[in-house]
Subunit: 429 residues, 2 copies
């Protein structure tokens, strides 16, 4: 009970995990399926998207106007021989001395050398006159002038944003390959846990880790299969684990991994014999377990049950592992500068401090630590939007020091939140 195994570093624990987790196969998404947009948005491309067509696919008009041979405009007035709306599938010819009324995006008849915008004409329907000079070769978009068949339109690894959806839709391909979304089961253990929104008896608490892990799994683009709440019963834990590893690509448990008599996850997994439990030199998040379970070698992450420990353990170990399984880049740690007061940090362990990060107008990422850093202090999370890593050898963090910082949500950098720039909103031209 009192033997203290050697501590390993967080980097060592992560390296073991990344060496062990499997790479899942890429997923083929057919564009003929109605739901493809929702299925690919925010995912990484697993292969280049090369164009299956020239773009434009046919030479077409850039304006609403008249298609003609430029030299005929000198005649003063031309007969309008017909209308060409966008979507007209006829293969037409523009003979000498003729004008066609044509819409933006419609195919120009062969023989056309220019399009005259309707604004530079009398708008005639049977005969047309032009105002001003008619220039040769204007307002025509030529087949393939944007993209040629075979051109690489999007590179593998691109995280698919809305503008890429337009490119994919136009590429003349019937499917794309995207990074897989690992299917994840979350197991939240503990007799003391009750679902959020329910009343509590003395000694009970609301389960915060189950919902938080569900949100974390979604936030990194994985697919949540289930959040199972399991009581403190090693047999039940074993049964639920067995069911989970039969279907999921990864399992995350929280709680039940310390030295206590009721640490049933540990008990169940030591029985299974394929999970290693380590003490990692970090704070919070010391007790960590990882292994591959079942015939398919499904990665199982056993995270400590304090909410702060669960949060930190997810970002430091599970998020990079899920990214690796998907062939996606792992979360980005950036450099930030301590702008609030410094703080004392634990001896002999890397500290993952909860901080508030703000990117200044000059691009500086400034961090302020929460006053308290307890592993059960949920209250502080209202302010925290980032983790800052203090190396193991540090004893004290000083104002002005640079630290590695992981931003945990969008507001400071994402395009979808924050104040609309006054310069744009208020500009009077």
């Amino acid at each position: 009970m009192s033997h203290a195994p050697e501590l390993i570093t967080d980097a060592e624990h992560l390296a073991r995990i990344l060496a062990a987790v499997p790479r899942l196969p890429a997923r083929r998404v057919a564009l003929a399926d109605g739901g493809w947009v929702g299925d690919v948005l925010g995912r990484a491309l697993a292969a280049d998207v090369c164009s299956g067509v020239d773009l434009p696919g046919f030479t077409n008009s850039a304006m609403d106007g008249y298609a003609l041979r430029a030299e005929d405009a000198a005649d003063g007035e031309l007969p309008v021989v017909g209308d060409i709306p966008a979507g007209d599938t006829r293969e037409l010819t523009c003979a000498p001395g003729e004008a066609w009324r044509i819409m933006t995006g419609a195919p120009v008849p062969s023989g056309t050398t220019t399009v005259v915008p309707v604004e530079q004409s009398d708008g005639g329907l049977e005969r047309v006159r032009f105002t001003g000079e008619v220039e040769d070769g204007r307002h025509i978009r030529r087949r393939g002038e944007d993209v040629r068949i075979g051109d690489v339109l999007l590179r593998a690894g691109t995280i698919i944003a809305p503008q890429h959806v337009a490119v994919i839709a136009s590429a003349g391909v019937d499917h794309i390959e995207v990074a897989p979304r690992p299917r994840v089961v979350v197991l939240s253990t503990g007799d003391e846990l009750r679902p959020a929104g329910e009343a509590l008896q003395h000694g009970q608490i609301h389960d915060s880790n189950g919902p938080m892990l569900a949100a974390l799994v979604a936030a990194v683009g994985a697919e949540l299969v289930e959040v199972a709440h399991v009581r403190d019963d090693a047999g039940e834990v074993a049964r639920v684990l067995e069911r989970a590893v039969a279907t999921a690509d990864a399992v995350i448990t929280t709680g039940g991994v310390s030295a206590g008599a009721y640490d049933v996850v540990k008990a169940a997994l030591i029985e299974a014999g394929e999970v290693t439990f380590d003490k990692v030199a970090m704070q919070p998040g010391k007790p960590q377990g990882f292994g591959l379970l079942g015939e398919r070698g499904v990665p199982v992450f056993t995270l400590p049950g304090n909410p702060m420990s669960t949060l930190v353990s997810f970002w430091v170990f599970v998020a990079p592992a899920l990214a690796h399984m998907s062939g996606r880049p792992a979360p980005v740690w950036r450099r930030g500068v301590v702008r609030g007061p410094g703080w004392t940090c634990p001896r002999g362990r890397a500290q993952y401090a909860r901080v508030h990060a703000v990117r200044g107008a000059d691009g500086e990422l400034a961090i302020r630590a929460n006053a308290r850093q307890g592993s059960h202090h949920l209250g502080e999370l209202g302010e925290a939007n980032a983790l800052a890593r203090v190396p193991r050898e540090a004893r004290q963090v000083e104002t002005g020091e640079m630290l590695d910082v992981l931003v945990l949500d969008g507001p400071i950098d994402a395009p979808l939140a924050g104040a609309y720039d006054e310069n744009v909103a208020d500009e009077k031209e």
Copy 2:
């Protein structure tokens, strides 16, 4: 046909829209509903979340160990009178001379003055001996030491990230108020359009705006009701619009708003009489229409049909409007510096250039323009991840100049993508 109405500025058009769009009511989400996490993640809180409970809710043990009165430890050995697992709902008392075996998170019996970790004991089940000194008042988390009933845990406006989900779950509340998600119908018009993945005839193109607008609606946190493809028939457009404004909170159309004979959206809406069509001094995106339709005054945005125009119009006009309707902050324009070659820009119109933006290690947001800036050049979108706004009076953009920049996707700043920092991954402690 040839009358040219006065151009208005992009700021003027946006101001008219923001003055007209309604504010939707906040939505109440009950935590007892299983799906609440997916329903609130990434949404803005519409009201503060105040704690309904003290946290911790009861005084409990921070360690697996023994609960006792510290002064009794001097006796050398104490009887273990029982086990207290986490979730034990009994209201127990620790009498003088007794020790209780207690697990992390379990309620400490009244009278307890300290918890001795199991590692500082012989681990006895019937009687226990302690090694080392027993300090009074250790390893006990006191009721309310983290949060008191009524404390503000999360402020209105917070974009709900996974760590906030843990706070909400623990707050002892049965519901929260979140920003509404406007229900949006997209109408993509044009006889020339075929769905992505289908074969094309001469004169036809794949519909890229429909899928892109579906993705854009999702990207800003609104709810997509439907992407309807409508043929170039003013009657059909009118019927689909009527159906859309009966149920949706906003309608976005693309195409059919120029001066052409087949500009059926314009025709249908001029009939309805409640939409204003303007020429906006911007490039791309000149022809813009906006109005409130139907009894409920549903905002309708008519965007030009070129994909670049649609993309720019969405980010410049529709995204701020949907944010305003939701009570969310609008997209953030940041300052970026031109690091590639400069370019010539259009006379008399603000230009929204498609650029590639990269945030450097020093925090600088550096942009490079795509070589071509045509409004139908889909090929360039593979590289573009941002828009840069060049003011109307500019004739030329110079290297080193600062511009307003809107990042269109996460990779440069978001926490979920990019290379894992070598400093962290490779650190050997």
